[in-house]
């Protein structure tokens, strides 16, 4: 747009409003990709083989970048950690194989927070991802744009999609790691229902929360990719079985009594009051209100709802995710693979842990170490009841909150029954983030305090309940940076969530 003339880099013309040229952009040559990446740092590995000429498959001609915590046998899988800097997995993740079998081209690996832990994509051995967005009225060149965060932990996937380095990107979401960067970068990000997309080959952060999802510039591209990935995999013990998927689809169909075209009569959208915390920037609320007004004007009912346990969600999330992280990351000792640091001479080697400590101290970044310590404490015999078990109880309350407001029953919960007299909502709608993309702190900035965690209030409840959630662009804040809204549905209602997202997307662009 404005900027290509200034720095003469033709493919950058698509920044800002990219949709038209999306398919051309993803076929960038390796050298142009590298040049583009210098300013974004979205890709940590770029495939060297050429774009394959295949046809007839659902993803033929489609290029997909893969988050660096998803295993690939032909590229490194570092998880953005010094611990796995030279690690190449002996196998491909099921999702990678499905993409390849579907005709997609795997174009590279995307930057992320170390092992998926972070909200700003700052905690990466590869350095932070720089949000590629630049407001249209900016007066500086794109490469000199304001350095804002792409969000985390899947910041590389969001930025790579936003800047057109690929058609879609695989990402993971444990507590908001897809939806937050999608919101900050102005792209679409889907976290599917837990158990619908295989986790075999996805490096565990917190197994009971981790989901593989898709980021793309349009809901259509997200759906196209998701359809290839959403298959039962016997290698994943937490995968929902075909019978469960079928039952969820039947329940969803029973409640699909609305129209997707104007008018949207019959569509009931819940707005949870707890999702507008005092920390939320006022200029986030404006675009969200606009979306709701548009939807109401087109015939949808907007229903205020309450999810009272939301305020406990954040603490429960951090206890559970840290506890599982402390367990999952115990394997990184540098013995079988990964970084090994020889203990200095004179080290007390009487205990194995004392030998490992050197590798683990050098290999893990500070955020990862912080969460391992927190999780280790939560699992100690003295703390287990008050922390871990209490968090599990809260998790049940969160699930029950959601089951109370949705009209579609939860097929995973035998006590959740379809009530014919009850008119619950089809989906929930709320802001994806409490603000637009924050500035990246310079190295002189003080350590981030709890502020980085408060953001997660909006995204962790759906993670704890395993529900499908999608973030779609919904205009811009007062600072002219992208604002995202999230649509959350009952377990197994991924299609419904994408349907509503598509409606929002349609009205956002017209």
């Amino acid at each position: 747009m404005l900027r290509n003339a200034r720095h003469g880099c033709s493919h950058l013309r698509h920044l800002g409003s990219t949709r038209r040229h999306a398919s051309q952009i993803s076929h960038l040559s390796g050298s142009s990709l590298k040049e583009l990446n210098t300013s974004v740092n979205a890709l940590v590995y770029i495939a060297s083989d050429g774009f394959p000429v295949t046809g007839g498959l659902p993803l033929s001609g489609f290029s997909v970048a893969v988050k660096d915590n998803i295993c690939t046998s032909s590229m490194p899988t570092t998880c953005s950690s010094a611990m796995l800097l030279d690690f190449i997995s002996p196998f491909d993740a099921t999702v990678v194989k499905l993409l390849q079998d579907g005709g997609a081209y795997i174009s590279g690996k995307t930057n992320c927070d170390e092992f998926g832990m972070g909200s700003l994509n700052m905690y990466s051995v590869h350095g932070p991802v720089i949000n590629p967005y630049q407001p249209p009225d900016s007066s500086v060149s794109w490469t000199d744009r304001e350095r804002r965060s792409a969000g985390g932990s899947s910041g590389g996937s969001a930025a790579a999609v936003a800047v057109g380095m690929c058609d879609a990107a695989l990402a993971t979401d444990t507590g908001g790691s897809i939806r937050l960067p999608a919101s900050y970068c102005g792209v679409v990000g889907l976290k599917p229902s837990y158990g619908l997309v295989s986790r075999w080959g996805v490096v565990s952060y917190a197994d009971s929360l981790d989901c593989v999802g898709v980021m793309a510039r349009t809901v259509r591209d997200v759906r196209k990719t998701y359809n290839v990935l959403s298959v039962y995999d016997t290698k994943d013990p937490t995968a929902a079985r075909p019978a469960t998927r079928l039952r969820a689809a039947e329940e969803r169909d029973k409640h699909q009594e609305y129209s997707l075209d104007s008018p949207l009569s019959g569509l009931r959208i819940g707005v949870p009051q707890e999702y507008f915390p005092s920390d939320m920037d006022s200029h986030i609320v404006q675009p969200v209100r606009r979306v709701l007004e548009t939807l109401r004007a087109r015939g949808a009912s907007i229903v205020p709802v309450s999810l009272p346990s939301t305020r406990y969600a954040l603490s429960a999330y951090y206890v559970i995710s840290s506890a599982e992280a402390s367990s999952n990351l115990a394997r990184y000792d540098g013995i079988e693979y990964g970084t090994y640091i020889d203990p200095p001479p004179g080290t007390d080697k009487t205990k194995t842990a004392k030998v490992y400590a050197h590798s683990r101290s050098a290999g893990f970044g500070k955020e990862v170490q912080k969460r391992i310590l927190l999780g280790t404490y939560a699992l100690t015999a003295d703390a287990f009841d008050n922390y871990f078990l209490q968090a599990q109880r809260v998790r049940k309350l969160i699930c029950a909150d959601f089951d109370r407001v949705f009209c579609v029953p939860n097929v995973l919960n035998s006590t959740s029954q379809s009530n014919p007299d009850f008119t619950g909502v089809h989906v929930l709608l709320h802001p994806s983030a409490i603000r637009t993309a924050p500035r990246l702190p310079s190295s002189t900035d003080a350590d981030h305090d709890l502020g980085a965690y408060v953001q997660d209030v909006l995204t962790v409840p759906a993670s704890l309940a395993g529900l499908p959630a999608i973030s779609v662009p919904a205009g811009h804040g007062m600072d002219a940076w992208p604002v995202g809204i999230s649509i959350v549905g009952q377990w197994g209602c991924d299609e419904m969530v994408m349907d509503v997202a598509e409606i929002c997307e349609r009205y956002n662009t017209t």
Binding site: L84, S193, D207, S208, P237, R331, E336, T376, T380, K396
Partner: protein
């Protein structure tokens, strides 16, 4: 999803309280420690005999405790805790666990779950072991020892992963890690403290070994490490409350277990007689010095930070599944013994028959392999069981042993063995010929039936009136004139020597009784 989130109310740590039921047993003063009671409980870890590990499809083909397998050649990415790998429960291990629980009269839990036990050790690649801490697989069982009035209650049975093996090379000062065993399925079988002497403890382990082998759930081999014991010992003055227990870890033979218990009992008595308390401890056993040593005190007990495994949904077993396994259970040792005795076999023959290959009738994953007992049962159908057992336990085992072969290498089919027994039973061949025939089949591994072979090899018994017999006898008398004279003078022993010559000439086909009769006729 969320099915894996365990109900918090079920996460109550199982207490390992000492029950007082044992006091109902008659107290026998042990001359080794008069006035003292000894109480023993045993935790057995038995490797599950499956071709695959508990949570990974790692082709084993042999048990991972087998020393002949080169190190680190039975390791999948999951076993080495590679990032991105996930567990998948091996249903064969569950089935063998259920069989074991049924054999132990334990109640199989309709719902059990898997937990992670965390500690850092080089032979534990994931940094945790998956076990069943909060909700074990089966509870409340019972094992009757060979001393029939002794019943040992089984507190629980749980499924868990084995670790790898680490060995320290003192010369190069390095630890060597072999992950072949890592992730292999184990059954942890915990007894109540119901044993009262080292001998009862040994009886318990041996009885359990035989039971595990008979249902095919474990090889139960202590020397190779497919069965390992941790023993809890406490000592109290007769009539006084139970003493403080000490756990002795990793005992790898029944003999050493007994020595360790005796040594531990004396150590406790020494302390108690000095008026000192026995501190609760975990102890090791030094085989060379035949004594135990302290590994760690109760205060140093590690915090394993148990956590429900978020990848493994609860294990739900319905009634129909358990019933089906119950109905297809292999015969248990006590039932088999009773049945064989009822057939008229001697106690000794039954012991020998059931001890062939240590009673392993089942190969990997519960598949029946046709062990010695099954072989006997098939051959003995519609035949004299005593004749069959004689030929199996004496002749067949003897010949296999001299060929340095085990029973599993026996090449004589059930049909061949049956045919051989029939020839013997109908006196178509002599015992001597039967042995030659058996030797021939084992050596050539032929599949031809014994009746045909006997004809080909001219081993069929000579009819008593055969003219050959008279010719052989006359020939023998002529060849041994001195012996013949002595025989004529009434020396009966010498007759046998002439019989032997005739038997040799007939290549064993002659009937010894007929030969003797013919000789006496010709001599007198």
């Amino acid at each position: 999803m969320l099915v894996h989130v365990s109900n918090p109310t079920t996460l109550v740590r199982l207490s390992r309280s000492l029950s007082l039921v044992h006091t109902s047993r008659a107290l026998n003063d042990d001359p080794r420690w008069p006035g003292w009671d000894v109480v023993v409980g045993i935790e057995v870890h038995a490797q599950i005999k499956s071709r695959h590990k508990l949570f990974s499809e790692c082709g084993q083909g042999s048990l991972t405790s087998d020393y002949s397998v080169p190190p680190n050649t039975r390791v999948s990415p999951y076993d080495a805790a590679f990032p991105g790998t996930l567990p998948r429960l091996n249903p064969r291990c569950v089935e063998l666990g259920v069989r074991t629980a049924i054999a132990l009269n334990a109640s199989v839990q309709r719902r059990s779950s898997f937990d992670r036990k965390h500690y850092f050790y080089a032979d534990l690649p994931a940094g945790y072991q998956i076990t069943q801490h909060y909700a074990p697989f089966a509870t409340d069982g019972r094992l009757t020892l060979s001393k029939e009035d002794v019943h040992v209650r089984i507190k629980q049975l749980q499924l868990e992963q084995d670790t790898g093996k680490s060995t320290f090379d003192p010369r190069n000062r390095v630890s060597e890690i072999d992950l072949n065993r890592a992730g292999t399925g184990l059954m942890e079988i915990v007894s109540e403290p119901d044993m009262r002497s080292p001998e009862e403890a040994a009886d318990y382990v041996r009885t359990l070994q035989a039971l595990l082998r008979s249902v095919g759930s474990s090889d139960g081999n202590m020397e190779q490490g497919s069965l390992r014991c941790d023993v809890n010992v406490s000592v109290n003055r007769q009539g006084a409350p139970l003493g403080t227990r000490c756990e002795i870890k990793n005992l790898n033979s029944v003999k050493f277990m007994m020595i360790a218990i005796v040594s531990e009992v004396h150590r406790h008595i020494d302390l108690l007689e000095q008026g000192l308390a026995v501190p609760q401890e975990t102890r090791g056993f030094n085989e060379d010095r035949a004594e135990t040593y302290s590994l760690r005190s109760k205060e140093d007990a590690p915090d394993y930070r148990y956590m429900p495994d978020p990848n493994l949904p609860p294990l739900l077993l319905n009634e129909a599944y358990v019933t089906e396994i119950c109905q297809s259970m292999p015969e248990l040792p006590q039932a088999a013994r009773a049945r064989l005795l009822a057939l008229g076999l001697s106690r000794r023959d039954v012991d020998v028959l059931m001890d062939i290959d240590s009673g392993r009738e089942i190969t990997f994953d519960g598949q029946r392999s046709g062990g010695a007992l099954a072989y006997f049962d098939q051959v003995a159908q519609r035949r004299d069981p005593r004749l069959v057992v004689n030929w199996i336990t004496h002749e067949l085992l003897g010949q296999l042993a001299s060929r340095r072969e085990t029973f599993s290498e026996n090449s004589i089919s059930v049909e061949q063995m049956g045919g051989l027994i029939d020839l013997l039973h109908n006196k178509k061949i002599t015992g001597t010929s039967g042995k030659s025939l058996m030797r021939h089949i084992l050596a050539t591994r032929t599949t031809t039936m014994p009746s045909t072979l006997a004809q080909e090899l001219s081993l069929l018994a000579s009819p008593a009136d055969d003219s050959n017999l008279e010719a052989w006898c006359a020939e023998a008398i002529a060849a041994l004139p001195e012996e013949a004279d002595a025989a004529r003078r009434g020396n009966a022993n010498v007759v046998n020597k002439i019989v032997g010559r005739v038997m040799k000439a007939s290549r064993g086909t002659a009937n010894a009784q007929s030969v003797k009769a013919m000789l006496l006729k010709l001599l007198h």
